[in-house]
């Protein structure tokens, strides 16, 4: 929770020495409160004040990183309850559960799918990031071997799940450099688990039976010196898991409750035996606040909708999703196929290309950079007008793809056709398309 300038001033040396770059401690305090200065600029502040200040300025939900390298999973750090209030920032990690009690086939299938299920989607690669490795065999050696195998064969950010500190220690010896999440400290073993987390410098999950005992447990773990904590309230029914996610998020953001100011982990894999329903539980947790979601398996039919849900919910509402400017073939267009133009707002592109596809008339779609504005907005802003469109069409290279010189513009910008014809020159013919993308199919089917 942010301190006021006056509260910060009370913690400063009050000598007005000026070394921080401003003449007085009070001025420095005001700058700190406004996030216009760094605490480190004052060389004289006491260690005690420093601790208090950094504690007070810490984010309400602690960001926690699991894994390393390109596949590091950052969770937490959220600042709002609703995405429209600002944006959600750190997408929940999607994990598949692999147990040392599974057969080799079950294990290998999951590892294979973890590696292969990746989707190209508007210039992004959508993929799962995490594998939860569970110790159910009771055999520490067997567990360590499985952890090692998963490490060797994948870049997954790991969750090490066991009740046994001994098995976890064995696994950590081979995997600590990958910074796995240790799951989990509970009431009976908090000291031992916190000891492991400190020794191997790994984040630690805290698992309790309800919100009260969860807060008490994280206090105990924090006091033992572990800072990176992930919360499991223990709920395994849909309603209670949903409510606990809301409680934790609100406790951190609204009540400024430091004991619950951490990301969460949830287990749809332990809540149903139906993989279809498990997918819906996971979707619920994507929208409502989970930090890590552990699934029993990854299959294309369920992982794909979840990855897209996650992308959609975590898209910054203040920044439109944009396509690269360029020529997009839809179907398998030839040198005689129609040429259409639209703007680079991703949604516009999706809808237009979807309707062209549905028409089964292969076409060339020119996508022009309008800084992510839709057709009407871009036109109103003067970015999607005759001369600008004309210049883009000329340098797009479309004349090397088609023999004809006809171009279809969206019906909403019919007014620009004159300017566009002028810019393009007399060999071109500008056709006015329908106003709504939904009417593209009959338009294209009737021929140009």
């Amino acid at each position: 929770m942010a301190l006021t300038g006056i509260q910060i001033f009370k913690l400063l040396p009050k000598t007005n020495c000026g070394e921080c770059g401003v003449p007085t401690c009070l001025a420095f305090a005001m700058n700190l409160a406004a996030a216009k200065a760094e605490l480190a600029s004052c060389p004289y502040i006491s260690a005690e004040s420093k601790a208090q200040l950094s504690e007070a300025s810490a984010p309400p939900i602690r960001p926690v990183a699991i894994g390393t390298g390109d596949n590091v999973v950052k969770i937490g750090g959220e600042t709002v309850l609703f995405r429209h209030e600002k944006t959600f920032v750190n997408k929940p990690g999607l994990a598949v559960m692999i147990s040392d009690a599974m057969t080799d086939d079950e294990v290998n299938g999951r590892i294979k799918r973890f590696k292969e299920l990746r989707y190209d989607w508007i210039g992004l690669v959508l993929r799962p990031e995490m594998i939860a490795v569970k110790n159910e065999s009771g055999d520490a050696g067997r567990y360590e071997t499985l952890v090692k195998k998963v490490m060797d064969e994948t870049d997954a950010a790991l969750i090490l799940m066991s009740d046994s500190a001994e098995a976890l220690k064995a696994a950590l010896q081979v995997s600590a450099q990958r910074v796995p999440l240790i799951y989990a400290a509970a009431e009976g073993n908090a000291e031992a688990m916190a000891g492991l987390a400190k020794e191997y410098k790994c984040p630690l999950a805290a698992k309790a039976d309800n919100m009260d005992s969860l807060a008490a447990l994280t206090d105990k773990i924090s006091a033992a010196g572990v800072k990176d904590i992930v919360l499991d309230s223990g709920a395994r029914t849909v309603r209670r898991v949903f409510e606990d996610q809301v409680f934790v998020r609100r406790a951190a953001l609204v009540q400024k409750n430091r004991s619950l100011g951490f990301p969460t982990i949830a287990f749809p894999c332990e809540m149903t035996k139906d993989p279809m329903k498990e997918t819906l539980i996971a979707a619920t947790l994507i929208a409502k606040y989970a930090g890590i979601i552990v699934l029993s398996d990854f299959q294309g039919e369920s992982l794909f909708p979840l990855l897209v849900s996650r992308l959609n919910i975590y898209t910054d509402p203040q920044r439109p999703m944009m396509m690269q400017q360029g020529i997009y073939p839809v179907g398998n267009p030839t040198e005689d196929s129609p040429v259409l133009i639209t703007t680079n707002f991703a949604l516009t592109y999706f809808i237009v290309s979807g309707e062209i596809e549905a028409s089964r008339v292969p076409s060339w779609l020119l996508v022009m950079d309008t800084e992510g504005l839709s057709v009407l907005t871009a036109w109103a802003a003067g970015k999607f007008v005759g001369d600008a469109i004309g210049q883009f069409v000329k340098k797009s290279g479309i004349t090397e793809k088609v023999k004809h010189r006809k171009i279809v513009i969206p019906g909403f910008v019919a007014a620009v056709s004159g300017d566009l014809e002028e810019e393009l020159g007399s060999e071109w013919e500008v056709k006015i398309g329908p106003r709504e993308a939904a009417h593209l199919a009959p338009f294209l089917k009737q021929g140009l």
């Binding site: 807060a215 849909v238 999706f350």
Partner: protein, 312 residues
């Protein structure tokens, strides 16, 4: 330290709207909290699911979504009976797509006959949707309203270009309007104000925010709905306190991802389509949907189970 549930102070309530008539009439709305936040408010009426029925046989449906209806696609009445009797629809959503002037352009009188027959064939509430052409819908939905006098249909989409004509029909013949705006909270509110000024009673309005499918703009619909509920419940924005209806089935099943065949990457085609529809429905429920218009019986089963679990 005991944990105190951090509760939201609500000041508003969603209006209750009755759909249909007779013993199978349905009440929607009435919420006094965010969706499924039952620890701090009430959701007196479970969200309801309408099954789509088309007035003309679809020619481009994904195999999986066609399969349950293959024997009835040529007959809207048989289709509606199957949706109600076999698949347990709470409501029927008759999609009069063939009236589209850019498509088959079926005359309004003929489509009105279809609507009348379908509405008479089932005892559950019926939603009648035009093609989305504002001019044609103005004529069509006025005729449907008159032909189905007193049946309390939901007719839509009612847009700012045609609310007067359709609204007058709804007042005269007692139907509910699905007020449709293009994913914009201010335009949604504006249309509700206009309908009120026209004399449409509050109990005859539901809001259709325009539904984007998964991967095709669902985040816009989701956030407009969350903003709508926030304004309605915590900022006393009386003109947004209406139940919300989402027409999602058609948005999902027309995508190439729902139509793609089995593959190692995209998995089983039928399950994928069902999950894309059910996941979309689930997200819309969490954002505040009161009525979902859906297609696949299996997606509907899954969503019903989730609703029951969230309210358990």
């Amino acid at each position: 330290m005991t944990f105190a549930i951090p509760k939201t102070a609500y000041t508003g309530k969603i209006k209750e709207v009755v759909l249909g008539r007779g013993p199978k009439a349905i009440t929607v709305g009435g919420e006094t909290s965010y969706p499924f936040h039952l620890f701090e408010g009430e959701m007196p009426h479970t969200p309801r699911i309408a099954i789509e029925v088309y007035d003309t046989p679809p020619d481009d449906w994904a195999e999986a979504s066609l399969e349950p209806y293959r024997d009835v696609v040529g007959d809207p009445v048989a289709w509606a009976k199957k949706a109600a009797g076999v698949y347990g629809a709470d409501m029927i959503a008759l999609q009069l797509v063939s009236t589209d002037p850019n498509g088959l352009n079926t005359p309004s009188d003929q489509a009105t006959e279809t609507a009348k027959k379908v509405a008479a064939a089932v005892d559950i509430p019926v939603i009648v949707n035009g093609s989305g052409s504002p001019e044609k819908d103005a004529e069509l939905l006025r005729k449907v309203a008159e032909a189905c006098d007193g049946m309390n249909l939901v007719v839509g989409p009612v847009v700012v270009e045609n609310y007067k004509q359709i609204g007058a029909g709804a007042i005269a013949y007692k139907h509910t309007l699905a007020a449709n705006s293009p994913i914009d909270i201010n335009l949604a509110k504006q249309l509700n104000i206009l309908l009120g000024n026209l004399g449409v009673p509050d109990g005859q309005i539901v809001v259709d925010p325009t539904t984007g499918g998964l991967g095709y703009g669902i985040e816009y619909t989701y956030s407009v709905m969350e903003r709508d509920r926030m304004a309605a419940l915590t900022q006393q924005d009386e003109r947004l306190q209406f139940p919300i209806i989402c027409d999602l089935g058609k948005e999902i099943w027309k995508t190439k991802e729902a139509k793609a065949e089995d593959s190692p990457l995209m998995g089983n085609a039928a399950k994928r389509g069902v999950l894309m529809e059910a996941v979309t429905a689930q997200l819309l429920l969490l954002a505040g949907a009161d009525v979902l218009i859906m297609r696949h019986p299996e997606a509907i089963r899954l969503v019903r189970e989730m609703i029951a679990d969230l309210m358990a």
